[in-house]
Symmetry: C4
Subunit: 178 residues, 4 copies
């Protein structure tokens, strides 16, 4: 079911805290917030961008660290301080001329639920809120910040035959070195 849905996906929207991070913020004595990202997630995100997927990230938070990390992976469409994720979802569809069924959404908490109910494919980390699990087509065995995005994007790329072949053939010219 979930794998079937992935065949049609052209766009990816990722929640940040609890999906790309481990749901914690490390706070300094001046109030700076540090977030923990996973490099194996990053590897799959970079590859998805190279493969031509439209990738966007939405967060209720406002941390600049998020922008800097995502930019380094080739993701520039980042929406911070978002109250209503549905608005960003609709703009994303319009901007890229996609319909809802062509978008994969990965979220972990209640503000993600309205979008997850209409996205073409909805997935979440193992430690997502119960309300999110209830509307997810796929619950990754990995928790947020520890490979759930890698796990889900790897499934997407493999279904569409766009994952790295560990043993690339001479014909596989389009595969970027990474």
């Amino acid at each position: 079911m979930f794998l079937d849905k992935l065949h049609h996906i052209k766009g990816i929207i990722l929640d940040i805290d609890g999906v790309l991070t481990d749901a914690t913020v490390l706070v300094t004595e001046t109030g700076e917030q540090l977030r923990r990202f996973n490099v194996r997630d990053g590897y799959a995100m970079q590859l998805a961008v190279k493969r031509g997927f439209k990738v966007c990230s939405i967060s209720g938070g406002k941390s600049k660290s998020v922008v800097l990390r995502l930019n380094s992976l080739g993701i520039t469409d980042i929406h911070l301080g978002i109250d209503k994720k549905l608005d960003v979802f609709n703009s994303f569809l319009e901007q890229h001329a996609l319909n809802a069924g062509e978008v994969l959404y990965i979220g972990d908490d209640i503000p993600d639920v309205p979008v997850m109910k209409i996205a073409g494919a909805a997935a979440c980390p193992a430690d997502a809120a119960e309300e999110v699990k209830a509307v997810s087509m796929y619950i990754s065995p990995k928790v947020g910040g520890a490979g759930c995005v890698r796990d889900i994007l790897e499934k997407l790329l493999k279904v569409q035959r766009k994952w790295f072949d560990a043993e690339p053939s001479a014909h596989d010219d389009s595969i970027p070195s990474a």
Copy 2:
């Protein structure tokens, strides 16, 4: 028993280290202390404030990072460097005209025990000290800093029918967007 007690709760007092954090401090070479907070805890704390609960935080430590993090969640009643938590508890009752039975206390270590024995509802994370578990009405399956506050506040808000409905109805005008 614990759920019954929650019906009467109007005020919430949260210990910081080991409850809102994972009981660790990350120390820089200049002695700055960084603390790790959980965003899913933060979500429930923000909601509790919006729902009208009086929320207060007490710590034996003195880290400014705590103040900055809690302020960002709408919590301004913060007591640091507290030796006797019972004094703060009594001031809290007086300030908000509450009785002890109307307060939920979440603690994890021995200095929390005296207050937990008289609070209306007492709960702790899975990794609390044995002495604390012995006086807790509810031991969360989650450890400190990894969702124990979310777990407990979610129970409180659900019992009082103040939790977010994942599918809010048109009648639910009082639910803030988050």
Copy 3:
């Protein structure tokens, strides 16, 4: 056996990395090293100092963060950059007129082994090196930086009836507030 040995302990020597910390260092781009300490460990260490135990810390590393953290807990006898821990052990005995049998040593890795073989009581975290476990009288179920020092010092203080009573009686005047 281990508990019997604890009756005679008057001094405590703690290794730092992997015992007081989780055996990791977080490295910034300028080479600063941040270390993670546990506040529940800190609580027991403060109490041990107040109860009159001589407490000393030894490390092969040289991080200032260690000094700042330990000072805040009342521990001032700190030896960094130590190649031969046995030398510090002998100085510690001389300085406090203790014999080896009166010292509890907590270590986690091979450089700790020579001292652990002659200390009155030797204990280690659950994730210590095999060589260390082989010479430990007690292996804590807790790992380094996640409560192994709390677990071991709690045993020491309880055996000597110097642990906090969760319900202090009126006669217990010597118990400091904490």
Copy 4:
């Protein structure tokens, strides 16, 4: 099989993210990336250098923190921002007049696969990518940044009888104090 291969090893190549670290980066609001290293890994790496092994580290990333950490362990041959790890592998062989069968490679993700297929011994952490596990002769029970390098180097040094003896004999003059 893996242990047999270790008899011939003279050089060691270590991937960084996910092998020497826990596969996460902690990002500050100015974009600085902090990486978490394990001191027990560091102990084994220092010992390998002292025992005369050629040690080199390769990463696709570019963080200066890596250089500073590795330098402090006596490792100066560090290659950052590497797209094709095979090129570095070949240079390493040439520089030290080694053949591929004399090199142990520890990696965790897809860019490591081509080198791992030709190295004399290939090992990975418990949380490596499936493609990496498929070409590893040994999968450590430890995850990246939590002792997998210690586990693997300890095996190497023990097989070659170069590991620290916890009880060094008088004949063991070449063992450095550490």
